[in-house]
């Protein structure tokens, strides 16, 4: 029984310590992520234009991460 209690306490302790997640990718490991090809958004005007072309032809919009703006969509 004592062994079981020790085991449960051990599992709980392990889980608790596991909750204290530390940032696992250090700033000096993010060089490749900083490359322009890894950016979600690169050229503002080109993306805004493409977004506008789609917004006026498709029923869906939003959640693109591209800054929206007013458009004459009728």
């Amino acid at each position: 029984m004592n062994t079981l209690r020790t085991l449960i306490a051990g599992v709980i302790a392990a889980l608790l310590s596991g909750c204290a997640i530390q940032p696992w990718v250090k700033p000096y490991e993010r060089e490749r992520l900083a490359d322009p090809i890894m950016r979600f958004s690169r050229d503002t005007l080109a993306e805004k234009h493409r977004e506008h072309v789609r917004d006026v032809r498709e029923g869906a919009r939003g959640a693109t991460g591209v800054q929206g703006s007013g458009c004459g969509c009728n």
Partner: protein, 369 residues
């Protein structure tokens, strides 16, 4: 207890930094402001009888170390002979110009962005203001963003001085960007959109029992969109990305968008991108190609029909000149071909389901300094 106290305080600090933004404790290093840049673009859209082209300019400059300002201008010169226009009205030409101003302020790990946009065409004016806050947390591995846009439009009609209406828009968004590994990054975005006012076109007609009648749209529309994206560095100076977005609204539209892309450097000067995009949607509840009964709302706007489109696109960037630590100048060209296929929108001249191909060309210069 000794082990849980630091954990408790760390969790509390994380929540405080998320919710409080400006009150973030620790990690006093300021977040990076967007880089100083200038862009000059020429865009040409040609498809389905519509040609739209024009220039666009953008300048972004940092001031006083913590503030970045942005100004942009965008012109659309439209010549419209689309299927709606040739079958129910006369082809026309018009101009749409848009001015945008933005201000970013970096404070510790937060970036606060205030932006306005004003778009004008002879019969439609749109103004909007937005506020966005993004907060870096978890050692810079996680970025949480919150945003809000409020828009207000005025709708007029050529040749009908008595017609004037308005639309109000609200957009609320939240997003998380997460560094997964030294080579992979992902994001999740959610946006709630709400429109209130005149949500149709005063020129467009619907068909009821084969007869043309002015379209009748509801005056409110609420929509939700959720988008997931992942970018990965796959070695050999190349990267891949995959996006998926699901959209749904109170008009009954449900839409899926999927995009897959590949980017690769060639030598020191060239960067190539390629992508394929799939879009499909289910029609709005009151959409009908030719309504068999009289209903309160009726529309034959093909943007609200059941259709799909597939895009194939590519982009080439060439580094014209670079002076390390001073500036970099790039020439860019991108081309996209889109094929639209409508399931329940017919060409009234032939009775066959409508479809068309469109090309989108962009030529632009970008300078960072």
């Amino acid at each position: 207890m000794a082990a849980t106290s630091p954990l408790f305080f760390r969790a509390l600090r994380w929540i405080a930094s998320l919710a409080g933004g400006l009150l973030a404790t620790g990690g006093a290093k300021a977040v990076d402001l967007p880089e100083e840049r200038a862009e000059a673009l020429v865009h040409i859209y040609d498809g389905g009888g519509v040609k739209a082209s024009g220039p666009a300019l953008l300048v972004r400059k940092t001031m006083a170390e913590r503030v970045s300002v942005q100004a942009s201008y965008y012109l659309d010169m439209v010549s419209n002979a689309s299927i709606d226009v040739v079958t129910t009205a006369s082809p026309y030409k018009e101009k749409r110009s848009e001015y945008g101003f933005g201000l970013d302020y970096a404070y510790r790990d937060s970036l606060i962005t205030l932006a306005t946009a004003s778009s004008r065409e002879p019969d439609y004016t749109a103004n909007s203001v937005s506020l966005d806050i993004s907060q870096e947390t978890f050692g810079g591995m996680t970025t949480v963003a919150l945003g809000f846009t409020r828009g207000s439009d005025k709708v007029l009609k050529h040749g009908s001085p008595d017609f004037a209406d308005s639309v109000k828009h609200w957009q609320y968004r939240v997003g998380v960007t997460q560094v997964l590994t030294p080579l992979w990054i992902a994001s999740a975005n959610f946006e709630a959109l709400s429109d209130d006012g005149y949500l149709g076109s005063p020129y467009r007609v619907a068909r009821v029992f084969g007869a043309a009648v002015p379209e009748r749209n509801p005056r409110t529309r609420s929509a939700r969109a959720v988008k997931f994206r992942v970018n990965g560095d796959i070695g050999s100076r190349s990267a891949v990305h995959a996006d998926y977005r699901y959209f749904w609204d109170t008009w009954g539209i449900k839409a899926h968008t999927t995009e897959l892309g590949y980017s690769r450097y060639f030598g020191q000067a060239w960067l190539a991108d390629a992508f394929v995009r799939f879009y499909s949607q289910k029609h709005a509840l009151f959409y009908s190609d030719n309504a068999p009964t009289e209903t309160l709302y009726v529309s034959r706007n093909r943007q609200l029909s059941t259709f799909s489109d597939v895009s194939l696109g590519g982009k080439l960037s060439y580094k014209l000149r670079q002076v390390p630590g001073q500036y970099e100048l790039k020439a860019n060209g991108s081309f996209e071909y889109v094929r639209f296929r409508y399931s329940d929108f017919t060409d009234v001249r032939t009775g066959a389901p409508y479809g068309y191909g469109a090309s989108v060309l962009q030529l632009y210069l970008t300078a960072t300094f």
